[in-house]
Every structure is written in C-alpha cells, then in structure tokens.
C-alpha cells in the first residue's frame, strides 16, 4: 500500500493505458503543454509526445465529434472535456452520434470512446462553472456513465472503460483531485458494473456517488455517534444503474436517503427513488428522502455556495427525519 492522490491515480491510469495500447491517445483543451487543467495529464506530453497527447483548440463540439470519428477509425481515444460545464457545447455529438450510432446502424458500428470531464461545485466558481449534470448523461441510452469517488476507482476505471466497445463517460468531481488514499502497490483494473457498499450498516441506506460519497460517509460517522448505523452505497456506475446492490441494501435497512449534488427536481436522486418505489415499496418503513442541491444557479460567495450544496448536516437531518416523519 502506498498513498496516492486521486489526480496521481488518474495520471497513472492514463500512463498505463497509453503504454499498453498504441491505439489509445488523449485529446482535449490544455491537456498537453499546460499540463491539464487539473494537472491530471502533467508530464504525459513529454512522455508520449504530441501525436498521442493532443492539445485542441477551444472547439468542444468538433473535438468530441472527432473523438467519435477516431474511435470509428480504429483508435481508442480518451477525450477530456475540461469540465461538464463546457460539455453543453458537445451534447449534440454525444447524444446524437456517439450514443445512437450503434443502434441507428443496425449494429454495424460501435464507438469505443472514453470521455472524461470534471464535474461539481464547491470551489466558489459560480453559476457557469459548478454544474453537476452527470444525471443528464445517465438518461441517455447507448452510453455508460461512471463516477469514480475513490482513489482506487480513479486508478482502475479507465482501462476497463477503454475496453468497453461503447462510449463511456467518466465524471470526476473537481474536489476529489486532491483526495489522498491508500492504494495497493499493484492496483489496476476495477469492476465497472457494480455499485459498492462503502460502509455497512443496518438502520438506513445512504446512496451517494462522486462528490457526495465523502459527505455521506461523514454523515454516517455522525449518525453512528447517535446510535444510527448507516450503510453507505457508492453508486460508481450511473448508467446502467446497479439495481441489485441498491435494492438488497434498502430491503435490509428499510430506509434510504439519496445524496446527489444535482439540482433536486429531475435529479438522478429522483431516479433512484423511483426504482426503490417500483421494486421495494412494500419493504420500506418510511418514504425515501433525498438531499440534493438547492434549485439555484450556484452562487459565488462561500456561505451561499455551502448553503446550496448537500452537506453532512443536511444528510444527518434527513436521516433523523425518517423516524419522526409520520
């Protein structure tokens, strides 16, 4: 075991992929000379050269579309869209081409493409730089959506994502890049099909992912001091959702709170609640609750931003409510 940051783990994953498969290359804004906006790709240009570490112009639509074309042409591109906020400019190729091509072509073509982007708020970057739109992407058939929340997943999700024959989107919460955790020396590939129980518990299930996993774990620690043992599930895969792990837990604990940084209305949390309703309604002792972002463009000021986002205290309160609710 050695300590690694989430950023370093991602960098290692890139280095491994680039070394292992000559078809793999990385492209995006400032991934090369600048060293990556979040320094994930720092040093890769020097190591792998400008053919395989490609700085793009500010043209999100074209370079995401070109990633699709390159995948069709036999490459295994990793496209970094700096942040989810700018991915709005590239939604058309993602939704109308990457996701639909296999089906539209009657299975003739498929798009082995990985698109990575930072997501989430918490750094006082205000309304246009704080979106959590991974829930939107999880709505689209034809793509898969990953959300590494641990250093192990940051290290181990990229390679299997590249092996996937279909487009895989990876959402990296911007606050996680500095996260440090222990990593086994030979850490590599992880499963990208299942959710994981990050903390076992019997009284209530907390469902989080990406940026809300740590907050959920923190809430669970506080609840434990109050005698409530919360189980914490890390969704890890936002599409397709791993219902089995989720429902097994909720059937056992009979109570759940979903924690999601997306805005409340139309959040991924709503989908989790709908699935629990559909499949475990009669097992519930209380309605499933959610802690999401307030319905406001994320403000700049620190105290306002904090008030807008899910926080451990809000999660604790939502859990406590599950008993006082009727």
């Amino acid at each position: 075991m050695t300590a690694s940051s989430y950023r370093e783990a991602l960098r290692q994953a890139h280095r491994e992929a680039l070394a292992r498969d000559p078809r793999v290359f990385l492209m995006g804004e400032d991934v090369g000379k600048y060293g990556g906006t979040y320094a994930v790709s720092k040093g890769l240009l020097e190591e792998f050269g400008p053919q395989r570490i490609r700085d793009t112009p500010l043209s999100e639509l074209a370079f995401v579309g070109a990633g699709i074309g390159a995948a069709l042409g036999g490459m295994r591109p990793i496209v970094e869209v700096m942040t989810v906020n700018f991915s709005l400019l590239a939604l058309d190729p993602i939704v109308n081409t990457a996701a639909a091509l296999r089906h539209m072509s009657g299975g003739q073509f498929h798009v082995p493409l990985v698109i990575r982007m930072a997501t989430g708020a918490g750094r006082q970057l205000a309304a246009q730089h704080s979106h959590s739109l991974e829930g939107w992407y999880a709505h689209i058939p034809g793509i898969k959506v990953l959300a590494p929340a641990t250093v192990e997943d940051a290290r181990g999700m990229l390679w299997p994502a590249l092996q996937d024959p279909d487009p895989v989107l990876m959402f990296e919460h911007a606050l996680l890049y500095n996260l440090e955790q222990e990593l086994p020396a030979g850490a590599g590939e992880v499963d990208i099909r299942r959710a994981r129980i990050r903390r076992p518990g019997r009284d209530v299930t907390l469902v989080g992912y990406g940026g809300t996993l740590e907050k959920s774990l923190e809430a669970a620690r506080i609840l434990a001091q109050q005698g409530i043992e919360a189980e914490v599930i890390d969704l890890r895969v936002l599409r397709p959702l791993d219902d089995a792990t989720l429902l097994e837990s909720v059937r056992r604990t009979r109570r759940a709170v979903v924690v999601d940084e997306g805005w409340r209305s139309g959040s991924l949390a709503a989908e989790i609640m709908a699935r629990i309703m559909e499949q475990a309604f009669y097992d519930l002792d209380a309605p499933v609750a959610r802690v999401c972002s307030e319905e406001v463009p994320i403000p700049y000021a620190k105290h306002l931003e904090e008030a807008a986002l899910p926080q451990p205290a809000k999660i604790v309160a939502a859990v406590q409510n599950l008993w006082g609710n009727r």
Partner: protein, 331 residues
Amino acid sequence: MTAAPAPVPLPRELALRLLASMLLIRRFEERCAALYGEQKIRGFLHLYIGEEAVAAGVMPALAAEDAVVATYREHGHALLRGMSPESVMAEMFGKREGCCRGRGGSMHLFDAATRFYGGNAIVGGGLPLAVGLALADRMQGRERVTACFFGEGAVAEGAFHESMNLAALWRLPVLFCCENNLYAMGTALARSESQTDLCAKAASYGVPTLRVDGMDVAAVHQAAVTARQAVLESGAPLFAEFQTYRFRAHSMFDPELYRDKAEVEQWKQRGPIHNFTARLKAQGWLSEEEFLELDRQAGERVEAASAAAEAGEWEPAADLLKDVYTPREPA
C-alpha cells in the same frame, strides 16, 4: 443561340458508367417518391434529384479504403458507394433486410463494408466525425482520404467552423464536399450567409479550394480526382464547392413557397442527366437505343430492389433493444 456542347473529356466507358450511375439514382428516387405516396416509405424523405452529378462524379474518384460521411440526403451516395439497392430500399421500408435492419430509415444509411459512415440527420453533424476518421487514418499511417458531404446550409453552423479549423490545423486528409444547392430548406444562401462565396470562407482556414460546376458530371469527376490526389499528397484538407440544385422539394412536406417555378425550370435546363446524355450523343458515344437500354437497366435494378424490399420481413419487436449496447460476455 446554343453553342455546341463541349466534348466529354473522359474515356467513353467511364462516361457511360457515370451516366448509368446518375440514372440509377434518378430511377431509384423516383420510385422512392412513388413508394412514399403508397406509404411504403415513411418518415422524412429527402430526394437528391437534380444533384446526381455530384455523387456520381465524386464516388468513383474515391478508393475502396477511403471513408465517406454524408447527410440525410444520401441515397445516391450510398448506392454509388457500392451498397446494394436492395439493402437501401429495404431500409427505407423498415425491413430487417435493410442495411440497418430498419433502425435507420432514409436518413441513416450505413455500411461498414464500404466504410460508409452515414447518414446524419443533424445539419453539420458529419463534419467533426470526418475529421476524426481522418485523424485515425493519420495516426495509423494509412494513406486514405475521408470524403465528407454536406449542404451549403451547414456552413453557417459552428460545427463547420470548428471542423475546418481542426482539420487544417492538424493537416488531416479530409475532402470537404460542399453540395451548394442554393437552399437550406426554404432559406436561400444569400439569406443565410453574409459572404456567399463559400470558397472565400474555406480560405480563411488556409484550406485550398475548388469551385466546380456540380451539374456537369465530367467536371465533377475530374475535380474529384484532382482533389483526392491533392489531399493525399499534401496530407491536408481541401474544400470543394459543387454548385448544384435540387429539382424537388426539400422533403415530402415542403410546399416550396420560397422559390419560383421559373427558377426551377431554368435549372432543369441544366439537368445533369439530360445534358450529359446530349453531349454523349453529340460526340457519337451514345445512341438513343443505348440510352434507353441504360435507363431500362437502371429501372430494372430499382424494381428488383423494391420487390425484394416488399418481400422482406419485419424485425421482431422483441428485438427492439438489440444494438443499444454491444453484447459482451456475462459479468
């Protein structure tokens, strides 16, 4: 006073093949229009009638290993790229014998065997795809060209701008084929572009250009051969503008309020089949009987395709979810 038609500057056999190609598209699409009336074909149907010389001239200039990206107005490109009329027609019927097993329809023809990458119903949507295909060729050291067809309407889209720049910046072998038929649905070029000289735009990316009479299949073919060669040699993109015209409505829903019948008639005088036939006849390369025979063969080909499509089967509805994801071994 009409000048004598210019002689066709191609070998006779090739010239006859180009004519046959145009006839195939024409007869195929006329049949499609009729079948649309019979409700055998549904959805959007965009006919290429009037513009046949472009696909007919460009396609034989490409090599088998090249890639082709087209639009929703792509029946002609698909057929001439080598897809069988059966598989295209069956697709338009929505049958399982169709190239996409009925998933795609008229706007989404695809063919892996001939590297035909569609069939894109988003205006400008094919442009970045073509850039990526060319990038893959470049990175894998393959000497190939990606031909990307799009209408002049697409030039206003941001996708055009970003794709042209990326292709030029990275010097990628893309042959941009702009089919300038003067209208985007009901919007005339001058009402959508402040600069109507499209080649002037391409130059602003440092991309070399060719402006071609898109009603003259011989001119198109010669230009396409030159253009492909230039792309291969320079390894960089080239922008070719083919000036053409669609004789029919934009789609089957279009009442054509936006242009004069007289304008359409004038362009029909320059009809690519009509004129090319006249030239071949004038230089003694084609008799009326030979023409009728070529036309009959095209018609037969189309009838066979439409009969086969009619006789085709429906994909079982139970297979609806097939091909959303690529099947893999169980976890």
